[in-house]
Symmetry: C3
Subunit: 266 residues, 3 copies
C-alpha cells in the first residue's frame, strides 16, 4: 500500500471534519472525544434512544463500542446502526471484551448478524471469539487466539463483509481479499487504558474520508502508531506518555503518514 | 463592570467553598469535577432520582448539562431542579447540543418552561435554537446563529428571566438589561473537549458567591479565560494545554481577576 | 508491621496481574482504570446485570464504588457481590457519599448486611455514618466524625467482619484486633478528584495478592502515599500533580515499599 494514499486520507479527513457519532463506554469516552478532535474530526456522544437516529443522520461515521454495554445502550446501538445502514454511514464496531462474558459475545454477534458493520476492530481474543475459531479474553485483555491470525481475520471478513482490523504488535487490516500489515506503534501504547478505544475512534474518523475501508483503517492505525512512536521518547511514565500521545496525534500532518507509515500488503 | 467586583467574587467563592451539584454528561464529567475543585468549590455528581433532592439541598448551585442526556437522567434533572427552585439554589443550564437533535431541543425547552433557570450557558447555535430565532448545531458544535448575537441573547433573557451566557471569541453575558462582554480566553480552548462544560461548572461555582448572576457569570468566564491565556504559552499541544489550563485555574488568585479581566459593559 | 511484607505483596500482585472488576462511578472511572494498570493489575468495568456474574468469576477482586449510584447499578452490585461471595472473590466497598444522602447511606448499609464485604474504605464522615456513631458528609467530602477514629473503625470492623480502612492525614487500617497506621501521603492528594476512588482500586488490586487484608490494605495505601510524596515535588499545580502521581505509581518497585513505607502497628 502506497503511503501517499494514507497521507491523502488525512488531508481529506481534516478538510471534511466529519462528525463521528460514538455510542461508547464511560471509561475511555473522554480520551475518544479528545483524540477524535485532535485528528481533525468532530466527536459527539449520544445514546438516548429518543435521539440516536437524529444524531447519526448528521454523522460521517458511527462508532459502536461495547466496553461498558448496558441493555438500554445496546438497544440504542441497534437503532443508530439501522439508521446508519439506511443512510450509508459507515459503522465501526469495537467488540470490547467479547469472549470474556457470554453477554458481550452475544451482543457483538447479534450486531454482526443484524447490522451491516463496515469495520470490526478488536484484539486477537475478541476477533478469534467472533470468528468462532477460538479466542481467549480476560476482562478486556486478549489472551490469544487459535489459528493463524491473518487467516482468522480473512475468514471473519469473508463471513461478515466487514473490514477486519486486529490490533497487536503488528496490526492486521483485511477485507478478506486485500490484507495490509501496519507496523507502526510502541509497546507503551499497551500500558495505558483506552488505546484500543482510541484506535476505533480514529478508524471512525478516517472512515468518513473514503469508501476504501482497508486504506482508511490502515491510515488510522499508522497515524496512531506514528504518534505513539514519537511520544514514547518524551515520556517519564505511562500517564505522561498518554498526554504526549494525544499531543502527537494533534501534531500530525499528512506528510508524516507519507514518510513514516510502515505498511505492507501481504 | 469593575474588575474589583469580579476579584471579590473569587475571594467569596473560596471562602464559602460551595457544593456544586452536577447532573451532567459522562464525557467531560471528570474535567468538571477537577475544575470545580481547582476554582475553590466542592463538586458532587449525583443523578439517582432517589437522592437528587437530598443532594441539591446541600448545594450552593445546581449544574444541569444535557451532553449525554438519557430519559431517566432528565427525570432526575427535573426533580433536582424543582427542589433547587424551592430552596433558592441557583440553576445553571448547559443545553449541550440543543438544535442538533429534536430530543435535546425539546428537553432544554421544557426545562426553561417548567423550571426557574437562573443561568443559561451555551454556544451561538444552542442559544439561537432556544431563542427560537435560528441556530445551527452539528453534534455539540455551533455552526452559527441567525441575527445579532447580543439582541438574541437579550431576547432569550427577557423571555426566560435567566442570565444568558453565550461563549464565543468574545463571550456575552446578559440579563436583558445589563450586558457584559468578556474578552479573555484563547483559541486553544476551542481545540479540546470539555471547555464548554467546564465553563458551566465555573459559572455554577461562582453563582454560589452572589445573587448578581451577571457579575458571577462574567467572573467565571474571565477567570477561565485568564487561565487559558496563561496556559497557552506553556503547552506543546492541545492535551498538555488542557493540563496547564487546569493548573492555571488552580493558581488563580483574586488579584488576577482585578488585574487581568477584560470585561466591558455594553 | 514489617515493610518487607508490604514489599512482597507488591511483588506477588505484579506476578499474578489479577483482574479487578469494578462497578464504579463515571466521574473517576478512567483514573481507576489507569491506576489499576499502573500498579500491575488488569482493570475491567462491567455493570450490566446480564454479565456481572460472569465477569466477577474471572476476577481476583471486586470493587464496589457508589460514587454515582443508580438503581440498576445497585442491583448489579448485589448480583456481582453475591457471586463474589460464593466464589471467595474479595469485595472492596467504597461507600462514597454515605451520610450525604439517605439513599447512599441506605444502599451502603444494605450491602454490609446482605453481602460479605471484605474491605470497607471510606473517609471519616462515611465511616462514622456506617458505624452509626455519627459522621458528617457534604457531597463526597468528610466533615468529620464523632468519637475516637480508631475506636470507631474497630467497632465497624467488629460488627461487619470487614477490614476497615479510613483515609485521612494518617490512614487507619483495622480488622478490629490488629490496627495499622499508614503515614505516607501528601496534602496535594486531597486537592484533586479521584484519589479516594483510586485508593480503593489499589486496595482491590492488592487484595488479590493475599488473604491478609490488613496487610494488603496497608500496602495499597503505603504504595499510593509514597507515589504521592514523590509526585508532589515535581508538579506545577494539582492537575500536573495528578499526572505525576499516576507515573509514580507505575514507577514503584517492591523495594520502594520496603524502604519508604511508614506503617506502625497500634
Amino acid at each position: 500500500m502506497d503511503t501517499g494514499t494514507l497521507s491523502e486520507l488525512l488531508r481529506i479527513l481534516r478538510e471534511r471534519r466529519p462528525l463521528v457519532h460514538h455510542i461508547t463506554n464511560y471509561v475511555t469516552v473522554n480520551d475518544c472525544a479528545n483524540i477524535t478532535l485532535f485528528i481533525g474530526a468532530a466527536p459527539v456522544m449520544a445514546e438516548a434512544k429518543e435521539e440516536v437516529a437524529d444524531m447519526v443522520s448528521l454523522a460521517g461515521a458511527l462508532v459502536l463500542n461495547i466496553g461498558t454495554l448496558r441493555k438500554k445502550q445496546v438497544e440504542s446501538m441497534f437503532i443508530a446502526g439501522h439508521k446508519a445502514n439506511e443512510l450509508g454511514v459507515p459503522i465501526i464496531l469495537d467488540p470490547v471484551g467479547a469472549g470474556a462474558t457470554r453477554y458481550r459475545t452475544e451482543v457483538a454477534s447479534r450486531m454482526l448478524q443484524q447490522l451491516n458493520i463496515n469495520i470490526i476492530k478488536g484484539n486477537a481474543g475478541e476477533i478469534g471469539t467472533l470468528a468462532g475459531t477460538g479466542g481467549v479474553v480476560r476482562g478486556v485483555d486478549s489472551e490469544g487466539m487459535t489459528g493463524d491470525p491473518v487467516q482468522v481475520c480473512r475468514g471473519l471478513a469473508d463471513v461478515t463483509g466487514a473490514v477486519v482490523v486486529m490490533s497487536g504488535a503488528a496490526d492486521i487490516v483485511t477485507d478478506g481479499k486485500r490484507t495490509v500489515i501496519v507496523e507502526n506503534g510502541h509497546a507503551m501504547m499497551g500500558r495505558i487504558s483506552g488505546t484500543g478505544c482510541m484506535a476505533s475512534s480514529l478508524a471512525g474518523a478516517f472512515a468518513a474520508a473514503s469508501r476504501d475501508r482497508v486504506a482508511t483503517s490502515a491510515a488510522a492505525l499508522a497515524a496512531f502508531g506514528i504518534a505513539g512512536e514519537r511520544a514514547a521518547g518524551k515520556a517519564y511514565g505511562p500517564y505522561s506518555f498518554r498526554s504526549m500521545l494525544m499531543d502527537e496525534v494533534a501534531a500530525l500532518v499528512p506528510e508524516d503518514l507519507r514518510r513514516s507509515a510502515r505498511v505492507r500488503t501481504l
